[in-house]
Every structure is written in structure tokens, then in C-alpha cells.
Symmetry: C2
Subunit: 226 residues, 2 copies
DNA sequence: AGAAGTCGGTTGTATTTACAACGGGGGTGA
DNA sequence: TCACCCCCGTTGTAAATACAACCGACTTCT
């Protein structure tokens, strides 16, 4: 676990918690490391979520499937990302989503009961942890809102525009990589893969963007269109 | 304010807080009542949100507009509903959404700073309040996920199915009312109003649903289709 | 009663999208 | 080297949707 302390202590979940307190806090919330092979189901839709996960290594996806077999990728998970906290906090008995390991994954799990019930005796970092959790939840909510704006736009083209500009901002660089294959990108945007490819081609021909594989570049014209 | 105590104390935000403690808590977080005429902007997109709102009377909508003038209704607000907590908690400087008064609205506002900074001296209900806030935020997150599923479905028809069944469950009755006009429903589902009307007509002709105005009934056939 | 506004449905047309099928490039393993 | 697989672009066609326009029913106001 020590190997990951750096990653853990910089997580928003542990803001304003001193490094020397971190280990006792982790013990207090019964932190456990688990490993999953590629394609494993880290959380299976339908089950109750009692633990909060934190990705230490590898990549994952939060996905949902509808009755027609369409896969909706809700979000991508990278090291440092937190998952499961929404359903743990809300106390839902059956998770509507699954979490799958896109690559082999190592993740840390925290017992939610131990987080929410302030332990009077043992450790006094709980209130800080809960405050941090509040911020993490709010942040996630905002990401959801962004995804709603994205899905709410009327055309694949504007979905792509929102998607790309948001990822560029997150990357902070102009030719930038996205963590989605073309099929995954289509599932994230909830559109047909071939239709997405077609629209991307149109945008390239129009001189708005450039791309190879999952590397995209937004050209000046991208920002001009009304 | 006394007039609304019943509504306030039953709000999830104040779970497990005794009625006798409520008033001092409200004073502690600087609760203020404000009134708005119909169509007023309760929160204007672009501004910072420092207060958490609680609807006492009237109805409102959380809306977002895109560059093309399309209005996306994120959610409807009724008495007892909380708003603004996401952006207050996350500390964003510019709200991406507006909150508008659909009817004349009376709302209670709580100072978020006073909520999040535990006041050691004055009152000891803060930790309970923050715990409640956690649950409210998680709940909102789940509602967002539902909306994402809804917007993610590939056709207006399945959007309508998800929308109606979800509202039926919330209403707990079969002929049930929805708090949206047809234009509002279209904006919530992010589809064209006339296309929505057309699909609703198809579904009625197919014997799946019945409706007049904003009263809907799901017929047995509704559940049969694969 | 008449004017004006709102709401919701209908219709026609152009556009967009889904769906299915195909094919080429690149990687991998036998 | 060959066969196989995965990823992604392309194409054609059918279906779904957006958009604009119109119309009737119903309210409200004067």
C-alpha cells in the first residue's frame, strides 16, 4: 500500500488531512486493496454498494446497459478517480450501473459505514473526510451536468463539440489524447459508432479538427462556427 | 416563517434534527426567506452561488441554455425541493444554470459557508446537517443518472417511456399528473416539441398510453413491448 | 363579443441518424 | 507468412427527427 501513498494523499478525498494522520484514518475506514483482471466486474449492476472505491492503478469504466443492449458509458476511470460513493451515500439497494476493468485494475476500498458514522473515540479526521466527500460528490454532480448538456444537444456534431472542448480543457493542451476508443466515444455520447465516424470525417474535411486514433486537435476554425 | 416549519422540518436536509433545535439551527445558518414573482430569475447563470435554496411555495425550474437558444430543463422544483447546493458545495464561481420561478415563489436561503464550517461554539447540529447534505447530494446525483439514461436512449419513444414510468413511480398512482406542459416536457427530454407530440400520438394510437393535457395513464400494453 | 395569447396537435419537407454490411490497416500468434 | 482479430472509416438505405408552418380549442383581457 505504501507504494500508493503519494496518490492517495493527493486525492481530493483526503484534502487537509496530514500525511501522518493518513495511515490511521485508512485503518479506521478499513481500507483494503483489491485487484481485478482485465474485463472483470468491479461492481455488478443490481448489487448493493457498501464501499467506496479509489483507483490505484489501471483504467475502468462506469457503464449502464439498457434493455436493448445499448451500452452507455457514464464515465471513464483513471488512477485517483473515486467511484461508488454516490450509491453508497444514497443507500440504494441495487446499483443501476456496473463498473468494469478496462485494463487490470488495483483499487482501494473504504467502508462507507465507517466513514459516515463519526467514530467519537478512535479518530478525529472524520469530519474533514466527510467535508471532502461533500466536495467530491458535488464535483461529480457537476460532471454529470456536463454530460447532460452533452447528451441534450440535438445533433452528433454539437455533442462532439462539447465533448472535445471539454476534454481539451481537462487536458490543458491542444493536440490531446482522449481515453476512449471510437466505439467507446460513441457509447459515451450515446450515438451510433459509424454515424460518429462520419461526423468526425465531416468536421475534419471542414477544417475544424484533426485526429488520428484517439489523438485530437482543435483547429482555429473550430471556435469560429456560430 | 412559522407557517412553513412543518415543510422545513420534514425536509431530508433536516433529518434527525429535533424540532426544538430547528429554530436555532436555522438562525445559525442565517436562514432568510425571499419572494419572487412569476418568471423571476432566482439564480442567474454566470453568477456565484453562495446560498442553498429550499422552495417553500410555488414552482420553479432549473434550466440551461445552449448557444443555439435551445432550453434544457434540468429539473422541476416543487415545495420541499432543494436547489443550488451542488454549486455551493463545489465552490464554482459561475453557475452554468439558471433557476426560474414558474409561478410566484417563496424560498428559504441558507448560507453555505455557515453550513460547511463547523461552528464549534454555537450549535452542535452541524455534523448532522452535513451528513444530511451528503445524502441529498447523492440523491440528486442519482436523479441526474436517471436523466442521463433518459437522454441517452436512442429514440424519442424510449425517452418518453423512461420519463413516464419514472413519473408514475414517483406519483404512486396510475392516472398521474406531470409538472410539465408539452413544451416543457420536450425541453426536459431535449427533443422537438412537435416530434414529441407526434410520438405521443403514435403511442396513444397503439394503445400504450392515454393522456389529456398533463394527465397521463399507462395502459397494460405499455409494459408488454420488449 | 372581439382581440390577442397560449397550448397542443397535425402536416410536409429536409436533414440527421441508426443499422447493417463491407473493407482496409495494423497487430498478434501459430 | 498466413490466418485471425480488432479498430475504424465508408457506403447505402430505411427510419427517425428537426424545423417551420398552420390550425383549432381554450383563456384572458378589454
Amino acid at each position: 500500500m505504501e507504494k500508493y501513498l503519494e496518490l492517495i494523499k493527493e486525492n481530493a478525498l483526503f484534502d487537509n488531512i496530514k500525511e501522518k494522520d493518513l495511515l490511521s484514518l485508512l485503518a479506521c475506514v478499513r481500507a483494503k486493496k483489491k485487484e481485478f483482471p482485465k474485463d472483470a466486474l468491479i461492481i455488478l449492476a443490481g448489487n448493493e454498494v457498501r464501499e467506496i472505491g479509489l483507483i490505484l492503478e489501471g483504467r475502468g469504466q462506469i457503464v449502464e446497459e439498457d434493455y436493448h443492449g445499448h451500452r452507455n458509458i457514464l464515465t471513464h476511470l483513471a488512477p485517483g478517480d473515486v467511484f461508488g460513493e454516490v450509491f453508497a451515500c444514497a443507500g440504494v439497494k441495487s446499483s443501476p450501473v456496473s463498473v468494469v476493468a478496462e485494463t487490470p485494475v488495483k483499487a482501494l476500498f473504504l467502508d462507507f459505514q465507517r466513514i459516515s458514522n463519526v467514530c467519537e473515540s478512535a479518530c478525529r479526521f472524520h469530519s474533514q473526510l466527510i467535508n471532502n466527500m461533500l466536495k467530491v460528490l458535488a464535483q461529480k454532480n457537476i460532471e454529470n451536468n456536463r454530460k447532460i448538456s452533452c447528451l441534450g444537444s440535438r445533433s452528433i456534431r454539437s455533442k462532439v463539440e462539447i465533448f472535445l472542448s471539454s476534454h481539451m480543457r481537462k487536458a490543458g493542451a491542444n493536440p490531446f489524447l482522449i481515453p476512449y476508443s471510437r466505439a467507446d466515444m460513441a457509447d459515451y455520447l450515446c450515438v451510433d459508432r459509424s454515424a460518429l465516424s462520419f461526423v468526425l470525417g465531416e468536421m475534419r474535411d471542414a477544417g475544424l479538427i484533426n485526429f488520428q486514433k484517439n489523438k485530437f486537435e482543435l483547429l482555429p476554425g473550430f471556435w469560429d462556427q456560430e
